[in-house]
């Protein structure tokens, strides 16, 4: 029964892909219905598993052998299952993917209405759900890599959904290629792990790690960093972060589901899944991971301050929050990372869907300076968006406060004081740029015709906002943290904390972190309020001068990649290779050989004159020569 449910969770979305592509491509409504049904049923199966699965069958193997070669010569087994692993890490994650996914599928029904590619859109969305669930449920490295790639391709298809727009076509290509760079490291890391420990299965690896700890510690840092490359690509960490802002070319619900709530979190999830490989003695990988996360968080928050596209601001905010999560993993805190991942999925999906609602209401206007006063026109969107903003900024007692606080507390606990300060600064910046967005879009007067005539979205788009808003508000009080803690820490004896304990937990646990977190929010809000209340133009560029230029252009990292790094490395090599192939091998060697043969042939042809006298003369000359040779000596 458990097995059947688990397989259903994974394969229902794939069935929907198959059904849509084979049967209902031409029928928009039916395709959408199939896709939505599949993801909702997947969610229900997940719920049943989550509540009904007994503790004893946690982590029991559910496997179908996929590839199995036993190599005696190498002394290694290449054994890969399509195997599902149900435990306290994967089960909540399934609920996030299918739950948030269901809401976004339903929202899309309204948002995408009338698009000629409606059926294709839902097929891709189902493909994405399938792949993402594969990553979550995978019980071995190669299966995870397989679904990792499939997630990449579904993201490619959805970013490039409006492929006739050159910007979308370029963005999807960039996203896939940047991810592939990370995947290169990931695959090499998998190969190295396999060659050292002799297995791909996570459970086997965990037991073998104890036996072969000496061999492994020699490569531990390398393995950790290589695997982190994969997370760097998928979770868009510096320096592979460049694809995520461009990915906003996709439809807004896609940005909410894939590029905010779930797929970009896959990197963090993967790091938590293999945390036992990172957290070994003699490995420096976690240090690097923590600092990369911190740098990403700060850099993205700074850039977000000077963006003007509503989706891009949210995209940089996503980057920044992902940086938080990665930083938490680096500070040896997978639990805070997963906690923040969960709450972030709620409020960031909410913010993106809210932004989508605004964009929809303003007829696809995305520039925040062309909005204003949307509050009165779209009250429901406004209120839900407000709660999303407050949750993201970390206002107690909303969900974001608890998860962010647990990360800051973890930084102190792990003696990363530098990162703690950095985290507080990022929290301040987060509040600042979010309230900038808030004031400019929703408050003040309408600044354009479109904003003047904005209208509230249909109810099919508003219900998902409601539900997400509830979770964004109450997410911190549901005991999500202790759920994940059960996976990573040995069972903590004692009673479950009560409601009031949970509410005040941050202040009891680590007062310093909690108070700094709250202070950051207050100052960030005051700062934004003083600058942006009732403003029609951005006052900041004047004050910041060239800094503003730098931030607006994202520190010129894209320009550096496009004009310096890639042309000087891979493209240059390609030019050289092409030159060699065309001129040296193609012309010099091949045609050269041909020409030598040709010239030799011409020379020899001179002997074949066809003149009998000539032949007779040569014959005689030859005979004379031989005679001289034989007799002359």
């Amino acid at each position: 029964m458990v097995e059947l449910l688990a397989w259903l969770v994974l394969f229902l979305p794939l069935l929907s892909v198959a059904a849509i592509t084979i049967f209902t491509r031409g029928n928009a409504a039916r395709s959408g219905a199939i896709s939505i049904t599949a993801v909702v049923f997947s969610f229900i199966c997940g719920l049943v598993l989550f509540y009904a699965l007994p503790e004893s069958s946690m982590g029991m193997p559910i496997q179908i052998p996929w590839l199995s070669i036993h190599d005696q010569g190498l002394g290694l087994d290449l054994h890969v299952d399509i195997g599902l692993r149900l435990d306290h890490l994967s089960l909540p994650m399934i609920l996030i993917v299918t739950g948030v996914g269901s809401l976004i599928h339903i929202y899309s029904w309204g948002y995408m209405k009338g698009d000629p590619g409606f059926a294709r859109y839902f097929a891709c969305l189902s493909l994405f759900t399938f792949s993402m669930l594969g990553i979550v449920l995978a019980d071995n490295f190669l299966m995870m890599f397989i679904f990792w790639e499939l997630v990449g391709v579904s993201s490619y298809l959805l970013i490039g959904f409006w492929y006739e727009r050159p910007s979308a076509a370029d963005a999807c290509k960039k996203a896939f290629l940047t991810n592939r760079v990370g995947d290169f490291g990931f695959l090499v890391g998998i190969l190295l792990t396999w060659a050292t420990l002799g297995s791909l299965n996570f459970r086997d690896l965990e037991t073998r790690l104890n036996v072969h700890s000496v061999e492994f510690s020699a490569v531990a840092t390398a393995v950790g960093l290589l695997i982190f490359c994969g997370a760097m690509g998928k979770s868009a960490q510096f320096p592979l972060h460049v694809w995520l802002p461009d990915a906003m070319e996709g439809p807004t619900p896609v940005s909410a589901l894939i590029h905010a709530a779930t797929m970009v979190a896959a990197g963090v999830y993967m790091l938590c899944r293999v945390f036992f490989l990172l957290n070994v003695d003699g490995s420096q990988a976690l240090q690097v991971i923590a600092w990369i996360g911190g740098i990403t968080a700060l850099m993205a928050a700074l850039i977000a301050v000077q963006q003007n596209d509503i989706k891009r601001i949210l995209a940089y905010s996503t980057l920044s929050q992902l940086g938080y999560m990665v930083m938490a993993v680096g500070c040896s805190g997978p639990v805070p990372a997963m906690y923040h991942l969960t709450t972030h999925a709620f409020f960031k999906a909410l913010l993106f869907l809210g932004a989508g609602s605004v964009i929809y209401g303003l007829h696809h206007e995305q520039n925040i300076w062309a909005m204003g006063g949307v509050r009165r026109k779209m009250p429901i969107t406004f209120w839900t968006f407000t709660f999303g903003t407050l949750a993201l900024c970390g206002v107690p007692p909303l969900s974001g406060f608890y998860s962010k606080d647990s990360i800051l507390a973890q930084a102190i606990k792990d003696h990363h004081y530098g990162l703690f300060v950095l985290g507080v600064v990022v929290a301040l910046l987060t509040t600042f740029y979010m309230f900038r967005l808030f004031y400019v879009v929703f408050k003040g007067r309408p600044r354009t015709e479109a904003a003047e005539h904005a209208h509230e979205s249909p109810s099919v788009m508003l219900w998902p906002l409601f539900i997400l808003a509830i979770f964004s508000i109450a997410g911190g009080l549901l005991g999500i943290e202790s759920l994940y803690a059960r996976h990573f820490e040995a069972a903590v004896a004692g009673t479950e904390p009560g409601f009031w304990d949970r509410l005040l937990e941050p202040f009891n646990e680590q007062l310093l972190a909690a108070s700094f977190g709250v202070l950051a929010v207050v100052f960030g809000w005051l700062w934004a309020r003083s600058l942006y209340r009732n403003k029609a133009v951005d006052p900041l560029p004047e004050k910041l001068g060239w800094w503003s230029q730098l931030l607006r252009n994202k520190f010129y990292i894209d320009e550096f990649y496009e004009n310096v790094l890639i042309p000087c490395t891979q493209d240059a090599l390609a030019r050289v290779a092409d030159f060699i192939d065309r001129w040296i091998i193609g012309t010099f060697a091949v045609r050269g050989t041909a020409n030598v043969t040709d010239v030799a042939g011409r020379l020899l042809r001179m002997l074949q004159t066809g003149s009998l006298q000539m032949y007779a003369f040569l014959l005689v000359a030859g005979v004379a020569g031989v005679l001289y040779w034989v007799l002359g000596k």
């Binding site: 190498l74 290694l76 397989i146 790639e149 190969l191 396999w194 891979q570 030019r575």
Partner: protein, 515 residues
């Protein structure tokens, strides 16, 4: 059974000689039906093949008829795990290629008959080469398939470089075939087994290994002879040029199937019969394979013509097979065979689709296209899927093969494997996605506003067959690996053990040098 698979296209070719020139439809139907029967039979053989229940010689569906007894030549066919998948792949591709003959029909009605006959001969030759267990027929069948290739490129080829391409491919491949022929004859002579039968040769060599000196002489002949046929770097320039000019069905059959002949020869013949030489050459092969995977991948990035791009990418993919062979490990060889099969389907699919695209748009210059996905939904979807298969997307058989090769080769050649992984994941994706971006995404240029797909469902059939094959083996690789591994194990055991008996080697060395 195997004989029927081989003979079906050949008999059909004979029959077509009797059909009047004007019966174009009959010829098409005969060609398609004949290859279809071959394909069905090959599927049955594949389905019924059971690695565990192999006979004494290790082969199933065997059939042997003596031909020239004094030289030890016999007609001997049979399958084991190595070639059963290749025969299936060859038969499927032959069917698809026959279905793709439409392109020719519309352009050149006059010579329809010759084209069909040559295509059928080629199909029969290819299947014969893979089924054959006798060196003589092995080589003969390959030549039978190779020569029609030249004629087809020369007569029905396209593009301004057609004549030069025909010229180059003919010379190149003839030289390659000739070098490998010398190698095979030397092998026959030096083994002292007095038989062309591969099973007999292997049995003989097990008892009396070929002296090291001879091995060191023969192995390079086979490696570079076959290497030219497989477009091993730096002998690869014929491939993109030739495929760029070839008519689609020819390119499908040659790039997909015939090219695998050399690789198959290396695994089937060179590794077990010349084990010590093979071991001493593995390093060279491993580094040469980067010439294919890395270097040709880079060159592919610079191509502007779709057919050239696919040509270079197909050359690049051959490198994975070489890497698998160089690893001399069970995982590596299994992966190599997987890649051979997967790439067969893939190359046929991409060349078939590019032929279709050329027929629809009249150009393959990628700069002159754009946004065609809206205009050509089926063709576009299929080609995009093929492109993703080509850059190693899981779900397609190519991924399984490539990743298996990486696992097999990592321990011995970590650096080479690392570069190969980079090329497979990043460089492959760069040129494939660039092609998709240029051809199918973006706005549609003015001159292509009017293009449309053929609505005839049969037109899609060959591509669907190939796509489904890629997906089936991508989803269920054990269909292949369970068959390949036991047979590959035998090869590996022969390739890795003989150095354990140095005494016997010295003795045989003396025996040979005495007369």
């Amino acid at each position: 059974m195997l004989t029927a698979i081989i003979l079906c296209p050949l008999i059909a070719a004979l029959l077509l000689c009797l059909v009047p020139r004007s019966f174009v439809v009959v010829m098409r139907v005969v060609a398609i039906v004949a290859t279809f029967i071959s394909m069905v039979l090959a599927i049955i053989v594949f389905w019924r093949y059971d690695g565990a229940a192999m006979g004494l010689s290790g082969f199933r569906f065997e059939q042997q008829v003596d031909w020239v007894k004094s030289l030890g030549i016999s007609y001997h066919v049979g399958v084991d795990g190595l070639n059963v998948g290749l025969i299936l792949m060859g038969a499927v591709v032959a069917f698809a290629a026959a279905c793709c003959g439409w392109e020719i029909r519309e352009r050149d009605n006059e010579r329809q008959k010759e084209f069909c006959i040559l295509l059928l001969i080629m199909s029969g030759g290819i299947l014969g080469a893979f089924a054959s267990l006798d060196l003589f027929f092995f080589y003969f069948a390959h030549e039978l398939a190779l020569i029609p290739t030249f004629i087809m490129i020369g007569v029905w080829g396209r593009g301004p470089d057609k004549n030069y391409a025909t010229f180059q491919i003919t010379l190149y491949l003839s030289v390659g075939a000739f070098i490998s022929l010398i190698g095979l004859i030397a092998l026959y002579l030096q083994s002292g087994a007095k038989t062309f039968d591969i099973v007999g040769l292997i049995a003989h060599v097990k008892q009396h290994p070929i002296p090291l000196r001879d091995q060191n002489f023969i192995f390079p002949l086979l490696l570079f002879g076959f290497g030219i046929l497989i477009s091993l770097w730096p002998f690869h320039t014929w491939a993109p040029l030739g495929y760029g000019s070839a008519p689609a069905p020819t390119a499908m059959l040659h790039a997909g199937v015939l090219k695998k002949f050399g690789l198959y020869g290396l695994i089937r013949i060179a590794l077990p019969l010349l084990p010590e030489a093979a071991q001493s050459w593995t390093n060279v092969i491993a580094w040469l394979c980067l010439g294919n995977i890395f270097y040709c991948g880079l060159v592919a990035m610079r191509q502007k013509n779709l057919n050239w791009l696919i040509g270079y990418s197909s050359v690049a993919h051959m490198g994975f097979v070489f890497l698998g062979i160089a690893s001399l490990s069970l995982i590596g060889i299994t992966g190599a065979v997987l890649v051979m099969i997967a790439h067969g389907f893939l190359a046929a699919l991409t060349f078939g689709l590019s032929g279709y695209l050329y027929q629809t748009t009249g150009t393959l210059e990628m700069d002159r296209m754009g946004g065609l996905l809206r205009k050509l939904p089926f063709l576009g979807t299929a080609l995009i899927m093929a492109m993703f298969a080509g850059c190693g997307l899981p779900g397609f058989a190519n991924f399984t093969g490539e990743v298996t090769v990486f696992f097999g080769a990592w321990k011995q050649f970590p650096l080479v494997t690392g570069i190969a992984v980079w090329s497979a994941l990043v460089i492959g994706a760069v040129y494939m996605l660039r092609a998709i971006r240029n051809i199918f995404h973006g706005p549609v240029p003015e001159q292509l506003m009017a293009v449309a797909e053929s609505t005839w469902p049969l037109r899609k059939l060959p591509y669907l067959v190939l796509l489904v094959s890629l997906l089936v083996f991508g989803f269920f690789p054990r269909l292949l690996t369970d068959k390949i591994t036991p047979s590959a194990k035998k090869i590996i055991e022969m390739a890795n053990t003989p150095s354990a008996t140095p005494v016997a080697r010295v003795e045989t060395g003396q025996v040979v040098s005495v007369p």
